[in-house]
């Protein structure tokens, strides 16, 4: 028998074995461990977010394990790097479902990645928890396995814009937006807010992702006589827009979404971004002025990773914390359905990070819809409102 024929026969046998292998009662749950999967971006365009989120998740799970685990079971996080590539995400989801037998997926990152991998995950009957994607299909229509924590941009930007216009009496509101789904989501929120107040969106202008020169857009908005500009930008473009406005002597109020609410914004922008308003869905963890619990947490994070935590680290940690608490409340007989039904009844109160309340119900799997306002004052973000409802 030739070697190739032997290999082919071995292949046939392995297919048979793979088919007849018995699945455990609850995938990913044994007496000793719970396997949790995450498909993140550790090497692609949003790796700057993916790495601290993963670090936050790992830190909280390791703390839970050090404290004895959840009902005696250690949590094992299996991290897959999609590089923001949907093809790799589909394969990563298959690996986590079949090879690692992941009980749940947590904090998967990026809309194309989430949209491509989510069907694989829920069709396999696994939990799809708190993905970093504003897409509505992550929680609607209601699905027993899908839970989302992050409000769509449209929802919280509507509240933030309305609050700003009412509080400051702006007459000529404008929008500078990234020319993609993110920018369009924000535009819908801004238009809805102004519509409710009976005011027009005086002007709007876009830029292509990655643009660094926004001088023509800023000149156009100045020419339109805007007294308030909403920025659907990320960090670099936020700094570019504010710097350009200040350079030409235009002192207009600007409000950026949570995507621009980052320590990098004031670190890069310096004096030019002083006074910028932003929307925060979780506060940045500054060591200065931190409460005792937060200060301890920052110390532990620094000791473990050798860098300061940022808002993304807090998000990862918070999501893992929600998982741990829900798994504990679900009891020692952990099942996927039991976890999901427990999460539907769970109220997560505000914590030392300054997070909002997260609340799910059997008819609503979006845990939070609100953001709060912050402003850069003296080189750091200061919270200036509570969560806007």
């Amino acid at each position: 028998m030739s070697l190739l024929l032997k290999l082919a026969l071995a292949a046939g046998a392995s297919v048979f074995l793979a088919t007849v292998q018995a699945a455990p009662a609850t995938p990913g749950v044994t007496d000793r461990e719970i396997v949790v999967g995450t498909i993140s971006d550790l090497s692609g365009p949003i790796a700057l977010l993916g790495v601290p989120v993963r670090d936050g998740l790992l830190m909280r799970f390791d703390e839970a394990n050090a404290a004895g685990g959840v009902h005696g079971r250690k949590i094992r996080l299996v991290v897959e790097d999609s590089g923001y590539d949907p093809k790799r995400a589909v394969l990563a989801a298959r690996k986590l479902v079949q090879r690692d037998q992941a009980f749940a997926f947590i904090a998967d990152m990026g809309t194309p990645v989430v949209m491509a991998s989510m069907p694989v995950i829920v069709d396999a009957g696994r939990l799809h928890l708190f993905p970093f994607s504003p897409h509505e299909s992550t929680y609607l229509p209601l699905h027993p396995l899908k839970f989302q924590n992050f409000a769509p941009y449209q929802t919280y930007m509507e509240a933030a814009t309305r609050h700003m216009v009412q509080a400051h009496g702006y007459q000529r509101s404008c929008l500078l937006y990234q020319d993609d789904d993110y920018g369009l989501e924000v535009m819908k929120g801004v238009e809805a807010a102004l519509g409710k107040l009976g005011r027009p969106l005086v002007d709007k202008t876009s830029y292509k992702r990655g643009a660094t020169d926004l001088s023509s857009q800023v000149a156009r908005l100045r020419g339109a006589g805007c007294d308030f500009v909403v920025l659907a930008t990320v960090v670099r473009e936020t700094v570019a827009a504010m710097s350009e406005a200040r350079r030409i002597g235009w002192k207009v109020d600007m409000l950026v979404t949570a995507s621009g609410y980052s320590a990098q914004t004031h670190e890069l922008g310096g004096a030019a971004v002083e006074g910028l308003y932003g929307v925060s869905v979780l506060p940045h963890p500054y060591a200065e002025g931190a409460n005792k619990q937060l200060a301890d947490w920052i110390q532990r994070y620094r000791k473990r990773y050798g860098v300061d935590p940022n808002v993304w680290s807090v998000m990862g940690y918070t999501l893992a914390d929600m998982f741990v608490h829900t798994a504990e409340a679900a009891g020692p007989q952990l099942t996927i359905d039991g976890f999901a039904r427990t999460l539907e009844k769970f109220d997560f109160t505000r914590d030392y990070f300054g997070s909002p309340e997260y609340r799910f119900s059997p008819t609503d799997h979006l845990g939070n819809r609100y953001g709060r306002l912050a402003q850069i004052r003296n080189g750091k973000w200061e919270l200036i409102s509570d969560y806007l409802k």
């Binding site: 082919a8 993916g50 394969l91 491509a116």
Partner: protein, 313 residues
């Protein structure tokens, strides 16, 4: 291809699949087989244009995108998949013809740059034509329907992809042996000499892009169904370079090059990911480890097999 060689290929493919199933599990391995075959189909387009006709194609992903979007839009308008796939191939072939037009006046790298510009225009058009394509928000694509059955299981998806790839490879083998195939190779080797021999280089290049576009269009149509969600950014320059890399790793001048290249591009990162799980704590958690190792593998392949895996030493 002799009968022995053909059997050897079939047996080695079966052995590879079996080993993959053993290593990854059935669904995971079959999903990889699906994507390997789909990428190989798209890579065949590059083999035709770059390997056979000797043209620089830096925007092949745009043709895959045209196929994917045509398929998604037609299926969402209730057009049967079996009818939609040929239309997707025709749209991408037309795109290929359009992309080849600058070849009448440009050559070499300058023509390559024009294909790059074509890809940028297609990506931008997909973003801007929002009423139809839903712009950057993307489109959800339902499962492929064949004979009233949804092709949504890993095994059936792999079967369809591999069947499509085999069909395309047989078609290409016939083409490469035909008068047109010889014309492509003549143009690749020396355009002026080919012209002097009575070959119309412009027509040969146009047909290479049409055939390459059609192959990539079919791949795009299948890709849309397998991934289930398409957005313009998925068909950007990164994907074009990935396809080009695929062809060169596999062997751009060989038919089997596309399949070998796709295997490296799709399956090696998965194998690295599985091996990484066996590494100790902090090393396993290093960000971008797969990318670094994958890069090293690519460099090794290029150094050790400069003519591609299918091209010999």
């Amino acid at each position: 291809m002799t009968r022995t060689v053909r059997w050897r290929s079939v047996l080695s493919s079966a052995a590879l699949l079996g080993l993959a199933i053993l290593a990854f599990g059935a669904d995971h391995a079959l999903s990889q087989a699906t994507l390997v075959a789909t990428y190989a189909l798209a890579g065949l387009g590059v083999v035709v244009v770059v390997g056979q006709a000797g043209q620089i194609a830096l925007g092949q992903a745009a043709l895959v995108g045209l196929g994917a979007y045509t398929e998604a839009l037609l299926v969402s308008a209730s057009v049967p998949s079996l009818l939609a796939i040929p239309v997707a191939a025709a749209t991408a072939a037309a795109g290929g013809a359009l992309a080849s037009l600058p070849a009448r006046r440009l050559g070499g790298l300058y023509f390559g740059m024009s294909t790059l510009a074509f890809a940028l225009i297609v990506e931008e058009a997909l973003v801007r034509w929002e009423p139809v394509t839903r712009g950057a928000a993307g489109l959800a694509v339902p499962a492929l329907q064949l004979a009233g059955q949804a092709v949504d299981a890993p095994a059936s998806q792999a079967l369809v992809s591999v069947a499509a790839l085999i069909g395309a490879m047989l078609l290409c083998a016939r083409l490469f042996d035909s008068r047109l195939g010889r014309a492509w190779r003549a143009v690749r080797e020396d355009e002026v000499a080919a012209d002097a021999c009575g070959i119309d280089p412009v027509r040969a290049k146009l047909l290479a892009f049409v055939v390459g576009g059609a192959l990539s269009g079919v791949a795009g149509a299948l890709y849309a169904h397998w991934i289930g969600f398409i957005s313009p950014e998925q068909f950007g320059l990164m994907f074009s370079f990935e396809l080009l890399m695929l062809a060169f790793i596999g062997g751009a001048q060989r038919l089997a090059g596309a399949a070998w290249g796709a295997l490296v591009i799709v399956a090696i990162p998965q194998a690295i990911s599985v091996l990484r799980d066996a590494l100790p704590g902090e090393l396993a958690r290093s960000a971008g480890l797969e990318t670094v190792v994958f890069g090293a593998v690519i460099v090794a392949v290029v150094l050790l097999r400069p003519r591609g895996l299918a091209g010999g030493r």
